[in-house]
Symmetry: C2
Subunit: 354 residues, 2 copies
């Protein structure tokens, strides 16, 4: 997994291409995949979903295996990310999670010290068993051809769901807790970091080539609060994973004010949203980390010709950067036209090798 590419040759497989870019030494066109690439926008997913609940789709390895592979079979991107959800680990910790039409809901929000104490570290592997099994099946199927990715929610983002109960746009409740009871929040964040480390270690052991940590909501924080309540947990997790030798990816939505701090997390790759330009991000984080992103997922609602143009412009803006992974700036949206996804992936995969 940390094999060197000292020869300066173009990568022979998608997997090698992805790992080269993540380690900052990709000699050819950048690898491409899409955040949340498996799911609702695909007709074949909808078919399966008509017969199974979302939870079943995630936690039955036979179904999750199928769903994970659907976009890869259709578009052939360079990486497959396992189909799962960041919140199951919380269920394994004792939080009552329900998926509703409005999104995930925790009916007993975690806000008081007693609520935190009612949670427990999952039994070893309890929150990871299905995703680990799916990853093993995917690894066998993909072999060395394609990169395989695992993922988890970061402590601040997991805590946001728990504290808000039903996450809406502003994260007011967790920001309140940061100020009214920071010690209790820190206790919760510690526990979540412990659980996340175990969760990601098991995914790597099951065959993931790299793991992405989603701290989606940490962009709601100013720099000082980010350093205390988000970065600290990220750093602990990346440090714990370092001995495994796999690249780590950090995603934060709305992170344009936090790039310098993200670069200090120890993540090997920073996944950025569409509100910061890649050349500016590169200028601000320096050459030491790889970048991933950042087409606005809403841009896939343009006609395919426009998608191709925007994708080319994105790739041109970082042409020659050996540490770049082409992607969206956030998860793909429901109802995204399949032809736009094809236009995005084909344009990226057809970009001239350099």
């Amino acid at each position: 997994m940390s094999e060197k590419n000292e020869s300066g040759e173009r990568p022979a497989t998608s997997r090698a291409r992805f790992l080269d870019a993540a380690w900052g030494r990709c000699r050819g066109r950048p690898p491409v995949w899409l955040l949340r690439q498996a799911g609702r926008y695909m007709p074949r997913y909808q078919e399966l979903r008509g017969r199974h609940s979302f939870e079943e789709m995630c936690t039955r390895p036979d179904l999750a295996f199928e769903v994970s592979l659907q976009p890869w079979r259709e578009f052939g991107m360079d990486a497959v990310i396992v189909f799962y959800d960041i919140l199951f680990i919380l269920k394994a910790m004792g939080a009552p999670l329900e998926y509703t039409d409005r999104g995930p809901v925790f009916h007993r929000p975690v806000r008081e010290p007693a609520d935190v104490r009612a949670l427990r570290l999952p039994e070893p592997g309890a929150g990871s068993q299905p995703v680990a099994e799916t990853l093993r099946m995917l690894r066998r199927e993909l072999g060395d051809r394609t990169a395989l990715l695992g993922f988890a929610g970061a402590p601040f983002t997991l805590a946001s769901y728990l504290v808000e109960g039903e996450f809406r746009r502003s994260g007011d409740r967790i920001r309140r807790m940061m100020h009214s009871d920071p010690e209790t929040l820190e206790e919760l964040l510690e526990m979540l970091a412990d659980a996340t480390i175990d969760h990601l270690e098991r995914q790597v052991a099951a065959g993931a080539d790299a793991v992405q940590l989603f701290d989606t909501w940490a962009g709601l924080l100013g720099a000082e609060d980010y350093a205390r309540f988000a970065l600290r947990g990220q750093t602990r997790i990346f440090e714990a994973l370092r001995p495994l030798g796999v690249p780590t990816i950090l995603y934060v939505n709305g992170s344009s004010h936090l790039l310098e701090l993200m670069a200090r997390s120890g993540a090997r790759v920073l996944s950025v949203d569409w509100r910061v330009s890649l050349p500016e991000a590169r200028r601000r984080v320096g050459p030491g980390v790889a970048l991933q992103g950042n087409l606005d997922p809403a841009a896939l609602f343009s006609p395919p010709r426009a998608v191709r143009e925007m994708t080319r412009a994105l790739l041109e803006s970082v042409a020659g950067d050996p540490a770049y992974i082409c992607n969206l700036g956030h998860g793909i949206l429901p109802e995204t036209p399949v032809e736009s996804v094809r236009a995005f992936v084909e344009t990226a995969m057809g970009f001239p090798e350099r």
Copy 2:
């Protein structure tokens, strides 16, 4: 309203202090008020609200007058903002608005060309009659002592509510429309800008010393989309208001990547959220505009002593800036402790004159 303060004296009234700071020539301590300062966190508001709907509270001038004054009577801040809502103008344009427990909902979202054409410019003054009457009453009550503010939603933010139907966190629908049908969206934005200009002109005529334009959701856009779909409307509005000679304030939430563009809008004051530091904002926008902000409203859930410390730190960070208005970085939250609001306002009003 554009009276000069060439003498270099400290302002004699809160109104003069506010206007001095907005025009960039405040010689004493900065003026202070709070975004959304009237409302749910105040027990006397809750009392009234128990007997009247939110819509009644906004549109009955006798009630809106009372509610607007409640925080000023309690804390004595330097400005009173009229109690109203940015969405009533849309009702006057024919959009069916309902206030629910989950927030405002438009049951027929505006997404197709026909939906836009079904809207109409309000009859002259139709969306502004109640707020104008409340402003006249407030002006009589406050006289020259205290600054009086009007406000409106900016076209992009108004359109976000219309297009999303029920606004959730991500503004996916309006961002989709930007890409799938930009012409229809631009037609909608044009109409909203026209309505907003009339709306704000009437508020100034009714006695507002300054007006704030809320483009709350424009921070969801990258620079290029912001320039086309948000800044253009803002600019047109501020240009139209310029002959009135009152300071204009522009608020965008999550705007740290957009400050330079905001500074080109023609707004006299930029109101920024807590995710950018004021010294950085000043460095980036230059000396030509005033700044307003930016304590995290969630910080008011800290103990009063901590609120006083954070407020002092905020004021110290821009001490001596003649173009600064002390405020929060977003609207005050429900359940905010009254004692924290008092600590914030008292600390700001007790800050040493320079």
